[in-house]
């Protein structure tokens, strides 16, 4: 028995969870959990503050990784076989349709949740100093998510995939000077073919996941270093602009001083860093507000995880991922549509190639990246930032309207046809 206890002790290396020390050590001593602080603010955990969108996005990504690796075992990235492998998944592989559906719906879900997460961060003003650059990383994560979804779209090699990518890459090629070359580099040719499938596969299973994992690590780490989640707007102190101080950030305080090392004390960061070691001035009431991450935060996160997983599983049980006919370059569907999240751009392209293919996407990305530096207003209170909220809401609504119009209101020949009007396919 002693041996077992010893082995257990060697693994967990912490005090029992019945003690406060044990609870904090559970978090600190564990490589997987140490991104959490030992204690978090009770109010920060409220559902209506974050809707747990960041976590849900992350959990969807975990689902995508696991199902994606499983799918890789059944997939060959060459034109005729790729499609046959899809058919095999559908008809022969045990739980194949379920696996593919989970991957598909989790991918769509991730695109949606990343976007909603961005909206939440904007509306709560959580991108403000010192979190400006984390917002920028977030924008890159959004772009990576879109790229992952887009590259994955081609892999089934059916008509839907083929033409969505053809249209999608055409939108990109409207960029001046480099557009054409960029498209050629991506496709490995002038049109979507064998080379394009292989390149998209490499991007989808190797390059982009690596990048997104690296950036996610930085994203999480910075959240932690910036003092955890931002305070809910309703907890902001009245009449006092919040100053957040990052540990290690230089301040206008006396230069670094280090005292002589005392023998009976281990060196900690506390001793070498000057300035306020904690991100906010902690009043006794606030200290009362703080709860241990374990179990308060962990259980909530676990619940978010279970909701995500069960949700995706339930959808996948009843709705299978679509699979159309084998890709046929000679047969253009009418209308050929890009993946839904690019349909807003396609809608713009249908009015003006320059506007939809170049100006709008470039402006959108630049505007998103510039937000934390352009918005000099230090206040996070909604009443102080009406303009910003209005502008961002217009941006969100415009995007949604364009996507809805492109998805549901565009029929053959890109004609404006409401979804409730049934179009009889003509001579074709």
């Amino acid at each position: 028995m002693n041996l077992i206890r010893e082995i257990w002790q060697s693994i967990v290396r912490r005090d029992p969870l019945s003690t406060d020390k044990g609870k904090s050590e559970l978090v600190f001593f564990n490589v997987w959990l140490h991104v959490h602080p030992a204690k978090v603010k009770k109010e920060n955990l409220r559902f209506k503050h974050t809707f747990y969108l960041g976590f849900i996005t992350f959990f969807l990504f975990v689902i995508l990784l696991t199902t994606g690796i499983a799918l890789m075992c059944y997939y060959r990235p060459f034109p005729p076989q790729a499609y046959q492998d899809m058919k095999d998944l559908q008809f022969v592989v045990f739980m194949g349709p379920f696996l593919r559906a989970m991957h598909r719906w989790a991918a769509h879900g991730m695109v949606i949740c990343v976007f909603l997460h961005m909206c939440r961060v904007f509306y709560t003003g959580s991108y403000k100093k010192p979190r400006q650059f984390n917002w920028v990383i977030g924008v890159f994560l959004l772009l990576l998510t879109l790229s992952l979804s887009f590259t994955g779209y081609l892999l089934p090699w059916d008509q839907l995939a083929y033409w969505a990518i053809t249209v999608g890459t055409n939108i990109g090629s409207y960029a001046p000077i480099v557009g054409g070359q960029l498209r050629e580099l991506l496709l490995g040719g002038h049109s979507v073919g064998e080379a394009a499938l292989l390149r998209f596969y490499v991007l989808h299973v190797a390059v982009l996941p690596t990048l997104i994992i690296l950036l996610t690590i930085v994203h999480f780490w910075r959240v932690r270093k910036d003092g955890g989640l931002s305070r809910p707007v309703w907890k902001l102190k009245p009449n006092k602009t919040e100053t957040l101080v990052t540990i290690g950030a230089p301040l206008e305080i006396a230069p670094l001083k280090t005292g002589p090392a005392s023998k009976d004390k281990t060196y900690g960061l506390m001793e070498v860093v000057t300035g306020k070691p904690i991100f906010e001035t902690v009043t006794p009431e606030e200290e009362e507000d703080a709860v241990f991450s374990y179990p308060y935060a962990f259980f909530r996160e676990a619940i978010a995880l279970m909701v995500t997983v069960t949700g995706i599983m339930a959808i996948s049980l009843f709705f299978h991922a679509p699979l159309e006919e084998l890709a046929n370059p000679a047969k253009t569907p009418n209308p050929a549509k890009a993946p839904w999240y690019f349909l807003g751009l396609q809608e713009l392209v249908s009015h003006s190639a320059l506007l939809g293919g170049v100006v709008a996407p470039a402006l959108m990305v630049i505007a998103l990246l510039a937000i934390p530096y352009f918005d000099r207003n230090p206040s996070r209170r909604p009443s102080d930032r009406k303009w910003a909220l209005w502008l961002f809401s217009i941006f969100v609504v415009a995007n949604l309207v364009l996507i809805v119009v492109g998805t549901f209101f565009r029929g053959p020949g890109w004609a404006l046809i409401p979804p409730w009007v049934h179009v009889v396919a003509g001579a074709e």
Partner: protein
């Protein structure tokens, strides 16, 4: 707050477990397993002892498939259609019934979908029968299934399927190529027909379309050719057989079935009667062919057809460069040939052509083959409606030499032209003259003009 969290977590975990069980259950109860169980029960009925019965029933379920690399397909139909090659299942209920009358088309070499259509990869009924969205070739019904013979047997007659021969003949003589491309040759006014049989269009639709194009496809510029229902059926068969699939040599070698009828056709085409006689009827330069198959083995005859000089050094018989099945067809014809055949062949032969007439004949053939007849009519009468073109119809070519010089017409054929408009503001007429210079050789174009002018002179004489 604290007390409820573990309960919610536990409830959700239970839900996740239930969902996983559901997913496993969904995946482990496919309909084909039920079919296999039913089939085993059917098989077990015929077993004499309880021991063998139990052994049959204990067969584990598995997916059956025929890998057909030469046909680029995998057919899993036999996963449910388990009695296809088992004659004892002659009276079994579907899907277990034995498939009689397959002849040389054994399932292990041909699978099912090459003839029947449907989705070979699927293991679920509706999907396998192709009656789902996004599958181009659903099962063919009894009325149309013989069209599939034309997928492999692309040339000559197919015994039992006269519709295919008729359909091909109509296609080449009615000028379909004027508007439609087939294997790269033809106009581009109508859709390319190279893979028409692989398109999801029901045979009924096609047949209807040939009888009344505008009734099924509103606004189609395709004129009504007033086909009879037999002709429409024949063309439908031909269209269904056009799939442009790549086939392995095992399958493509029977492109042409070596039938005596085809042999006779070749005999006429290659003018054998000019040197040979059958039972004394015909020429005497070569040996009489009556009973030749009794004197020589088929191999000997075949060798003779490949290289006459090798068998009889100094033989005056030319090499005809015939493919294997064409040679077999000729031998088959010779087995049954009679003096009456020779008589018929001789009487069907006209006088020898002068070079001018030969050019006109070639022009006439090209006119039909490249589809000019489709719009301008087999008798050059024109007259197809073409809204908003001058005169409202495709021009007749009967009086073309009154209005144009030969060079002008040559230029029109080479470069094509849009018809002059009736009303400048009206819509573009659906039919137009395509440019032919990339599809026809200069020689062909000249032949066609010669043919047009020859018609002209005749009508002048009759004037």
């Amino acid at each position: 707050m604290r007390s409820r969290l573990p309960q919610i977590f536990f409830a959700l975990s239970t839900l996740a477990l239930v969902l996983i069980v559901l997913a496993v259950w969904q995946a482990s109860t496919p309909s084909w397993k039920t079919y296999q169980r039913n089939f085993l029960q059917l098989e077990a009925q015929g077993e004499p002892s309880a021991v063998t019965k139990a052994a049959v029933l204990a067969t584990p379920p598995e997916i059956h498939q025929v890998m057909l690399t030469g046909l680029q397909r995998v057919d899993r139909c036999t996963t449910c259609h388990l009695g296809v090659d088992d004659p004892t299942m002659k009276n079994a209920p579907e899907p277990f019934r034995y498939h009689a009358g397959l002849g040389p088309h054994i399932p292990s070499r041909f699978g099912c979908t090459i003839c029947h259509g449907g989705q070979g990869l699927a293991t679920e009924k509706d999907a396998a029968h192709g009656k789902v969205d996004f599958w181009q070739t659903p099962l063919l019904t009894r009325d149309y299934i013989r069209a599939s013979c034309g997928r492999c047997h692309k040339e000559g007659d197919v015994p039992g399927v006269p519709e295919l021969t008729e359909g091909r003949h109509l296609f080449e003589t009615q000028g379909c190529r004027g508007c439609h491309k087939l294997n790269g040759v033809g106009g581009s006014i109508g859709p390319d027909l190279t893979e028409e049989g692989a398109n999801r269009r029901s045979p009924e639709w096609l047949e209807h379309h040939f009888i009344a194009p505008n009734a099924v496809s509103a606004g189609s510029p395709m004129p009504n050719f007033h086909f009879t229902s037999e002709q429409a059926r024949a063309l439908t068969y031909y269209m269904l057989s056009l799939t442009n699939e790549e086939m392995g040599t095992y399958y493509s070698s029977v492109r042409l079935i070596p039938s005596p009828e085809y042999g006779r056709q070749l005999f006429v085409e290659k003018n054998c009667i000019v040197c040979h006689a059958i039972g004394g009827i015909g020429a005497k330069s070569g040996p009489d062919l009556l009973g030749v198959t009794k004197q020589h083995s088929p191999e000997w005859l075949d060798e003779q057809l490949v290289n006459p000089d090798l068998v009889y050094p100094g033989s005056s018989m030319p090499e005809y460069d015939l493919e294997t099945n064409a040679r077999k067809a000729l031998v088959a014809f010779m087995t049954s040939a009679t003096p009456q055949d020779a008589q018929e062949i001789l009487s069907g032969k006209g006088h020898t052509l002068t070079p001018e007439d030969a050019a006109i004949e070639a022009g006439k053939r090209d006119f039909a083959r490249f589809g000019c007849a489709g719009c301008h009519g087999t008798e050059l009468q024109g007259g197809l409606p073409n809204p908003n073109a001058q005169g409202g119809e495709v021009p007749s070519l009967l009086h073309v030499s009154d209005d144009y010089t030969k060079d002008e017409i040559l230029a029109v054929i080479r470069n094509g032209r849009a018809p002059p408009l009736d009303k400048a503001s009206g819509p573009t007429p659906p039919l137009y003259m395509p440019s032919w210079k990339n599809l026809l050789s200069e020689e062909d174009i000249h032949h066609i003009v010669d043919f047009l002018w020859s018609k002209q002179q005749k009508s002048k004489e009759s004037w």
